[in-house]
């Protein structure tokens, strides 16, 4: 209950960076969770303050990134690891600049496949989770199939997919769906099942049918769980698209990876890996932002510190 009093000089319009998370030992160790009501001067609450808080939010990851790049640069420049395995940041940068249109085009292809695959996986996964969570009969029938589809290594069935779906976008999207589907199902089922039985009772006394109970009670209740699954799924969807491109493609970052590997072109390989990671990170952050908008009410979010990277 007792979460928030007015924060010291915090911009009220942006409460997400207000206080340390409720009950985190950091906070516990230093004092009660809720800071006193001493509003700062108005100046601190405008743009300057926003910038200051942005800086505060990103300096740590920025520092980390800088440190990583330095280590990388040091290792590569000194050739502690040979350059054909680990190129220098400079080489990678040059490759990126020289081939930007080629890389951009292929990034777009992979991004496209990933997004479509993720959206389909989210919808199908949620649908499946609903069937499983609602009907024990369905559960017994569907669960084995879902599980089976998950445990088969996708890289092994990728050639079959190419045979069945040709070499266009379809097999990549199918792979992305297959690979991203499972976490959505698992977290969806767990979320839908975790509804307080008394709320279900409540809905029943309101004469609500399954759909309304789902829409207004079970689904919102499942969201915190579900978002965990979607976060895992979105990063896996990238992998699915790339694996699909390994098997049969003449575009996309997975294809560029094959090219780079075939030519031992480490700079291109790293640029390619960087772009793949970038897609994953950007989509992950998009899901996190969606989460922050969808479930601001949840205990995990009430604290004010969102689960983001920035």
């Amino acid at each position: 209950m007792s979460d928030r009093t007015i924060d010291d000089g915090v911009d009220l319009a942006a409460p997400i960076t207000a206080a340390p998370p409720a009950g985190s030992p950091d906070a516990d160790a230093t004092g009660p969770r809720t800071p006193p009501d001493q509003l700062g001067p108005p100046a601190r609450r405008g743009l300057g303050n926003r910038l200051a808080r942005l800086a505060e939010a990103i300096w740590r990851p920025a520092l980390l990134l800088a440190a990583l790049v330095s280590v990388w640069w040091f290792v590569a420049a000194r050739e502690y690891v040979p350059n054909y395995l680990v190129p220098t940041p400079g080489q990678v940068w040059t490759t990126m600049v020289d081939q930007w249109s080629f890389l951009l085009r292929n990034t777009y292809v992979t991004l496209y496949e990933t997004v479509i695959g993720f959206v389909l996986a989210a919808l199908l996964g949620l649908g499946t989770a609903i069937l499983i969570a609602y009907s024990p009969t369905m559960e017994k029938a569907i669960y084995p199939i879902v599980l089976f589809a998950q445990v088969i290594p996708k890289i092994a069935i990728a050639p079959l997919l190419v045979v069945w779906f040709g070499v266009g976008f379809t097999p990549k999207i199918v792979l992305a769906v297959l690979i991203a589907f499972f976490p959505v199902v698992i977290s969806g089922v767990a979320g839908l099942r975790s509804t307080d039985p008394e709320l279900i009772d409540l809905a029943a006394t309101m004469g609500a049918g399954p759909w309304k109970t789902f829409r207004r009670i079970r689904f919102p209740n499942a969201l915190p769980h579900l978002m965990s699954g979607l976060k895992v799924a979105v990063t896996l969807a990238v992998v699915g698209a790339v694996v699909g491109e390994f098997v049969g493609a003449d575009e996309g970052l997975g294809y560029v990876l094959l090219l780079a590997n075939g030519n031992l072109d480490a700079a291109l390989l790293f640029a390619d890996l960087f772009l793949m990671s970038l897609i994953g990170i950007v989509l992950f952050v998009v899901v996190e932002v969606a989460e922050a908008l969808l479930i601001p009410w949840h205990a995990s979010r009430r604290s004010g510190v969102p689960l983001t990277t920035s």
Binding site: P82, L85, V247, L259, G262, N263, L264
Partner: protein
């Protein structure tokens, strides 16, 4: 892969060729032919697609996802044995590029020097399967050499990093690349030079294409033979063409080296054109594969190869 070969506005047939791998020097003649208009002259609008290994290329041909494939012979034999409806219409690299590669400073000059060494190979490919036989043919026992299993990308890194003493591979592709990247000189022992020759890469076609449009196949093979014959005489021109038309090909000097190493592998009989195979070479390869690589119900060359499409001379 549809029933009717699609055509361009001016009536040329649209044709796809899937390579055995991402573009490297061995493929320069195709780009040369494109540049010189040899394919156009045969009424063919050619599109060259990169591949992901001979096996996948053969499968794409079998599924009619591509019209022609550029693929290695041993996996093609296997593919036909398992029921894929494809055939070779001419192997161009008749001297197999199959080889054992190692850094020059290892002091290896003959198979016997491999004794006690570790060799990286990829399980499932033909080099891997025939390696014990090749050792035997050179007076070594299977246990004299330790084989480490690695995938294609891992092999090269492992060799350069000294994790293995040697690797199995195609010298004309890998050696120049490794040399260019690591600056270390790479040497090799060719299977073919040491008692075991198997046919290398050639053109693979689906049986359906052969019966449906034999003229197209003939035209394609003709253009390809011409491209190879002329490229062999004009290596700089061929690599220039490739640098211009291919995407993300290796560096120019690597291309030149790769093609230079590939040309002798054509192993053309005097007076014959590239891609014309003596049946004995087929029998030898089939024999080796059935003895060492589990090729079942081998049969004769006609099961795998149709000589009727190559221009003899």
């Amino acid at each position: 892969g549809s029933d009717e070969q699609p055509t361009t506005a001016d009536g040329r047939k649209q044709v796809t060729l899937t390579l055995n791998w991402v573009p490297y020097g061995e493929h320069a003649p195709f780009y040369y032919g494109l540049k010189k208009g040899y394919y156009e002259a045969e009424g063919i609008e050619l599109e060259i697609k990169p591949g992901g290994g001979s096996g996948k290329t053969i499968q794409a041909v079998a599924q009619q996802q591509t019209d022609f494939g550029w693929a290695d012979t041993p996996p093609m034999l296997k593919a036909i044995a398992t029921g894929m409806k494809v055939k070779s219409v001419g192997v161009f690299l008749q001297k197999g590029p199959t080889s054992i590669e190692f850094l020059a400073d290892k002091g290896i000059s003959k198979p016997a020097d491999l004794k006690g060494k570790t060799v990286g190979g990829t399980p499932g490919d033909a080099i891997y399967a025939t390696f014990p036989a090749w050792l035997k043919a050179n007076g070594l026992a299977e246990t004299d050499v330790k084989v480490v299993n690695l995938d294609a990308a891992g092999k090269v890194a492992a060799l350069a990093e000294g994790r293995v003493d040697a690797i199995q591979g195609f010298f004309h592709d890998q050696a120049p690349t490794i040399e260019a990247k690591t600056g270390k000189k790479v040497d090799y022992l060719l299977y073919a030079d040491w008692g075991m020759n198997m046919l290398g890469t050639g053109i693979v076609v689906n049986d359906a294409t052969l019966s449906k449009d034999p003229d197209l196949v003939k035209a394609f093979v003709r253009a390809t033979q011409k491209s190879w014959a002329d490229a062999a005489k004009d290596i700089p021109g061929a690599t220039d063409a490739m640098a211009e038309l291919a995407e993300n090909e290796p560096a120019k000097d690597v291309l030149v080296k790769q093609l230079t190493l590939a040309v002798p592998l054509l192993d053309v009989a005097p007076g014959a054109a590239p891609g014309v195979n003596p049946p004995t070479k087929w029998t030898e390869t089939i024999d080796l594969m059935s003895r060492y690589a589990d090729l079942k119900d081998a049969g004769g060359p006609e099961k795998y190869w149709d000589s009727g499409y190559t221009n003899q001379g």
